[in-house]
């Protein structure tokens, strides 16, 4: 028996009743409820109260594909050092769902605390946890006599209980309630009262016996709490989105829903009328068809969808590639294949999106890793699409898109819009009235286009998905086909120079160990790097691609390390496959190691730490 095990046995379970050490601003709270029960408001109040106390926080909602009646878990992670990726262990459980309470309690680590509906009698299940029972329904009945409201207010009771047990500043809770319910005065009053009753119950009936506590810090100055889809929508508005067509699908719906809200408020012309069109289409085929044609006609056009929608959009995307039409498509990835786990997160569409459609196709894909990048790529994607005249994808995911992140405020676009190579009437007059739609005039493989409605007899051309030559005339000539396809390939090389470069964080000299990860894996990777450095003195360099096609610096990173972990949130190691396809035998054998996380849960640091620790033991 090792010393470590002995130590654990010594402290658990008998010692948890004695004066525990204090763990300040480092815990994960999980609220287990039934969806449709109205707990989301309470969770957001709790999250915002912690945020306003200046403690780094993040909120993650694990929800079913269902409207009411199935289990849902909301997890808040607060961490003084800013690590807010998913944490596998929960420290504080609020157990309100009888369907899952026993399993939820069984999965806790020794020493964790459980706040629960006393009728569930969970204290019988474990003797190494701290139990805080409360009669939620009875307490809610004190708040209101209305039975309908009691159920909702029971949720605010736990905010009060946690507030007292964890020393959350009650004024911040009240402030968060006001933000949550805004102008609804009666709701603010009722919810405040529920919180107060929760606090009173805890004071009078519960003895604090766990080590977790929260204290005011100053780490959120200037920051905002926002979900990635709202950030994407906001970025799109500042990118000048003028046509957004979509079909509802989780987890992307809130991109266009929130965009619509922003546009209604901020994008009305001098005549008070809309400078945008948002259309909920009949399906994803129509959504992408509308957006593509709007891009063809000169609008800043976008759509947002998820895996099944991406599959349906495939044919039109190929047309957009071949006929060279700008369009922005947000893919908020969820777990596939097929319907998959529609409310869980994944990075499983990298390969299929990158080469979406039949024939030789490849697409520019942006890979945001934060809400700030969702905003930034929200506007930059339009510039890229119009400059390159091609569909541009932004691959977010459910974790980034629907969960709530604290972030520095977004930066206003630092450059004017790039509307790309569009010839107006005056340009055509200067050119003597002729232009070739698909000719490479500038040597960058990007042709010029005209918009329908341009008042010049030479402006018109015919757009088609069938074989065409430089003049956009129909042809089945193999020479013309090869010329156009080869130019499109060169255009992709132009794109490679234009897309956001990878972010590299590398020791000097380079450590033998590196990791390549992207998108929503970023917070877990950074936390894992920190823990490996502090706990095991392992330095792990990090490269985060922010776009496809990949930049040459990715190969440099791989070849300057002995072992490079490639982290994918999918089963098949799709980024790894891409690296192999891109660089082939320029990658020395044995360098790339594949870490694949595909449970549908957001990425966590522990998984990376375990993998790397084992690998490094093997290497040593």
């Amino acid at each position: 028996m090792s010393d470590k095990t002995a130590l654990v046995e010594e402290i658990a379970p008998s010692d948890i009743d004695s004066e525990p050490e204090r763990i300040v601003n480092d815990l994960a709270i999980q609220v287990a409820t039934v969806n449709g029960s109205g707990s989301q408001s309470s969770n957001l109040v709790l999250l915002r109260a912690l945020f306003r106390m200046g403690i780094p926080v993040g909120g993650k909602n694990l929800f079913p594909s269902n409207i009411a009646g199935l289990p849902t878990w909301f997890t808040i992670r607060a961490n003084r050092d800013g690590w807010v990726a998913r944490k596998r262990n929960v420290d504080y459980l609020v157990a309100l769902n009888p369907q899952t309470a026993i399993r939820d309690v069984e999965s806790l680590s020794p020493g964790s605390a459980v706040v629960y509906e006393e009728g569930l009698r969970l204290e019988r299940r474990r003797d190494d946890l701290v139990f805080y029972p409360a009669p939620f329904q009875e307490l809610a009945a004190e708040v209101t006599r209305e039975v309908r409201l009691r159920k909702l207010l029971a949720n605010m009771i736990y905010v009060g209980l946690l507030g007292e047990l964890l020393s959350i500043d009650v004024e911040e809770i009240f402030g968060a309630i006001e933000s949550q319910f805004r102008s609804k005065k009666a709701a603010v009053e009722l919810n405040r009262r529920a919180v107060e009753i929760g606090i009173r119950h805890a004071r009078e009936n519960l003895v604090k016996r766990d080590p977790f506590t929260l204290e005011r810090m100053d780490k959120n100055r200037g920051k905002v709490l926002i979900d990635g889809n709202a950030a994407a929508a906001l970025g799109a508005m500042f990118g000048g989105a003028s046509v957004a067509t979509w079909y509802p699908i989780t987890p992307s719906s809130s991109v266009v829903e929130q965009l619509t809200g922003f546009l209604k408020r901020y994008r009305n012309g001098p005549d008070g009328k809309a400078t945008y069109a948002v259309v909920q289409a009949e399906d994803e085929l129509a959504a992408v068809g509308m957006a593509l044609a709007a891009g063809w006609a000169g609008a800043r056009a976008m759509t947002a969808t998820s895996g099944p929608g991406i599959s349906l959009m495939s044919e039109f995307v190929g047309l957009g590639y071949y006929a060279e039409i700008p369009l922005v498509i947000w893919n908020i990835q969820r777990v596939g294949p097929s319907t998959g786990l529609p409310t869980r997160t994944a990075q499983g569409d990298i390969l299929s999106t990158y080469t979406l459609s039949h024939g030789d196709t490849k697409h520019v894909c942006l890979l945001p890793a934060s809400t700030r990048e969702c905003f930034e790529f929200g506007w930059k994607a339009f510039d890229l699409a119009e400059r390159l005249q091609t569909p541009v994808f932004v691959l977010s995911d459910l974790d980034l898109g629907m969960n709530i992140w604290a972030t520095e405020p977004f930066e206003y676009p630092d450059r004017p819009m790039d509307r790309g190579k569009v010839l107006a009437r005056e340009d055509l007059e200067r050119l003597g009235g002729t232009f070739q739609r698909y000719a490479d005039v500038d040597g960058d493989a990007i042709p010029y286009r005209t918009l329908p409605g341009t008042e010049h007899p030479g402006a018109a051309y015919f757009t088609r998905g069938s074989g065409h030559d430089e003049s956009a005339e129909y042809t089945e000539s193999e020479e013309a086909y090869v010329r156009i396809m080869t130019r499109l390939d060169r255009k992709f090389e132009t794109a490679r120079e234009m897309v956001p470069p990878p972010v590299v964080d590398q020791a000097e000299p380079a450590s033998p160990l590196g990791i390549i990860g992207f998108g929503s894996s970023d917070p877990a990777i950074e936390e894992a790097r920190n823990r490996l450095r502090e706990d095991a003195a392992i330095e792990m360099d990090y490269l985060r691609p922010r776009a496809l096609p990949l930049c040459p610096s990715v190969l440099d990173f791989i070849t300057s390390h002995q072992r490079v972990v490639v982290l994918d949130q999918n089963r098949d190691g799709q980024m790894l496959q891409l690296l192999r396809a891109e660089y082939g035998d320029r990658i020395p054998p044995g360098v790339l190691r594949s870490l694949r996380h595909y449970s549908g849960h957001p990425m966590d640091a522990q998984t990376i730490v375990d993998y790397v620790t084992e690998m490094e033991i093997g290497a040593a």
């Binding site: 906001l234 289409a281 085929l285 709007a294 039109f316 977004f410 008042e455 402006a459 757009t463 088609r464």
Partner: protein, 348 residues
Amino acid sequence: MPAPDASSRPRKVNRLGLTPSDYKGKPSTLCKGCGHDAISSQLIRAFFESDVRPHQVAKLSGIGCSSKTPAYFLNHSHGFNAVHGRMPSVATGAVLANRRLVAVGVSGDGDTASIGIGQFVHLVRRNLPLIYIVENNGVYGLTKGQFSATADENAALRSGEVNRLPNIDLCGMAIELGATYVARSFAGDPKQLVALLRGALAHNGTAVLDILSPCVTFNNHAGSTKSYTWGKDNEEPIHILDFVPAMDQIEVEYEEGTDQEVQLHDGSWVRLRKLERGYDPTDRRAAQELVLEANEKNLFLTGLLYLDTSKRTFLDSLELCDEPLALLSEDQLRPPPEVLDEVVASYR
């Protein structure tokens, strides 16, 4: 006999100073005698006679023989030959981006009644300003003659294969779904067709024209109900229809025999002389009954089946600004930094 209206007099140049050849397209690659080419000719004539500026026109299509035809008229207009069955969404996107475009979509019976029927349904429901032409021949021409969903029950292919399924009547569907200008015509009846096309150009909303357009290669034999011969023998116009442009109205005296005039969006008129049916195309129920009757009795009734000039268009519903979205400047598209500050503050 009533005098022909001023607009149908042959003219060398129109009011824009353009000649008919300014409205021509590339040479057709369809089979000699194809009904679609006859329709393209009437499109050229209608756009010429209605003084439409070619650069303001967007030609949209899906896939199939019919969908190739936008290359064969209006060379000086932008064209977009998209993917199979998706012309409606492409037309929608183009019109949303630039509401000043005169959008004409060309589709076929396979493109509309089968693969694209969902998009057809939703386009009509929205009443997007668009001329939606279905060049209907009852077969898939480009894939060599399979039945389409508009083929009549018990019609036979040249091979002898008989269609056992009932046909889909696109005009009936369009009326049911709220289309505001619904017509049935025949590629072999140029006079009626050009009047219907000019009326459609003047109309603000979705104009669906279901045009029998015989396929000379795969569906023009005895036993076909989509052949030239069948069309000529069976066409029964429900009225004699004239198109009277707004500017000509004052010059033209009320004509004897005119039973009904309906004013269109741009101030022009359709003038109807009723035949034995005494039919009123502004009566939606009567239109639906007429289509039902035609289907039950296998009648080929042509003319303007339904017209509603009051319904709001999709662009009205969206409350779009007058300036085309595609032409908005950066300061109209990108709100100032203060707006970003304001939104960000609301997330604290």
